[in-house]
């Protein structure tokens, strides 16, 4: 069956460091992959989308990589800040499919 694994439920880092979050998947051939941020009591907020034929995407302090051979995406936040503390979700989508399949998220805590 399809499975998405995000690295360790929780990640704690020091302010200013780079946070790296991992999303691994099995039994899936996604057309694209998305990363969302979710704060407590709120719905997820879209951050970045990367397609299967793209290796890397950047947006300000955020960078996403997508390796379809390794079946893995890495999400990096450089120069992290306490305000980056949240749960980060990856979601996979097949082409022309109705649904997104989400991982369970990684909770990032950035300490000042």
């Amino acid at each position: 069956s399809q499975k998405i694994e995000q690295n360790s439920e929780a990640l704690n880092i020091q302010e200013g460091k780079t946070a790296t979050l991992t999303c691994n998947y099995t039994n899936y051939s996604p057309a694209y992959l998305q990363w969302y941020r979710q704060d407590p009591g709120r719905g997820p907020v879209f951050l970045l989308l990367i397609r299967e034929n793209e290796k890397e995407k950047r947006k300000e302090r955020l960078k996403v990589t997508f390796d379809t051979t390794l079946k893995q995406s890495l999400f990096h936040i450089t120069a992290s800040q306490p305000a980056d503390s949240a749960t980060y979700l990856c979601a996979l989508d097949a082409a022309n499919a109705g649904k997104s399949t989400f991982g369970d998220g990684t909770t990032l805590t950035v300490k000042p």
């Binding site: 057309a31 907020v45 879209f46 989308l49 109705g98 997104s100 399949t101 989400f102």
Partner: protein, 116 residues
């Protein structure tokens, strides 16, 4: 402009009651999704609409769950004869484009359903 709104934000229902959860998507958005999110887990897909057509309802857990979007805008998720295992946050999301074509989803704040 306004984002996706959901009502009520919180709902407490006694076991066996019927509930109706409302979603107002962003105006003009073609796609609308419903997800169920349990504590500490990611959203689980329930159903998807493209305009008024329900194209995928494979995630609905039982025939007690029913969703509609009659005019292609507002959607209602109805749960009949609620059970304790239905307790979760129900998220609605909309997207400007058809699903599967690379459109980002805009989520509402969710409705937290507690069945007692």
């Amino acid at each position: 402009g306004a984002g996706v709104s959901q009502s009520p934000r919180y709902k407490v229902a006694k076991r066996g009651q019927d509930v109706a959860l409302r979603c107002d998507p962003i105006s003009g958005h073609v796609s609308l999704f419903w997800y169920q999110q349990a504590l500490g887990q990611g959203p689980e897909f329930l159903t998807y609409f493209q305009n008024e057509a329900q194209l995928d309802k494979s995630g609905l857990p039982s025939d007690r769950f029913f969703a509609e979007r009659p005019e292609g805008s507002v959607s209602t998720l109805k749960i009949q004869r609620t059970q304790q295992e239905d307790s979760a946050v129900y998220l609605c999301a909309s997207s400007l484009v058809s699903s599967g074509t690379g459109g980002e989803q805009y989520f509402g704040p969710g409705t937290r359903l507690t069945v007692t």
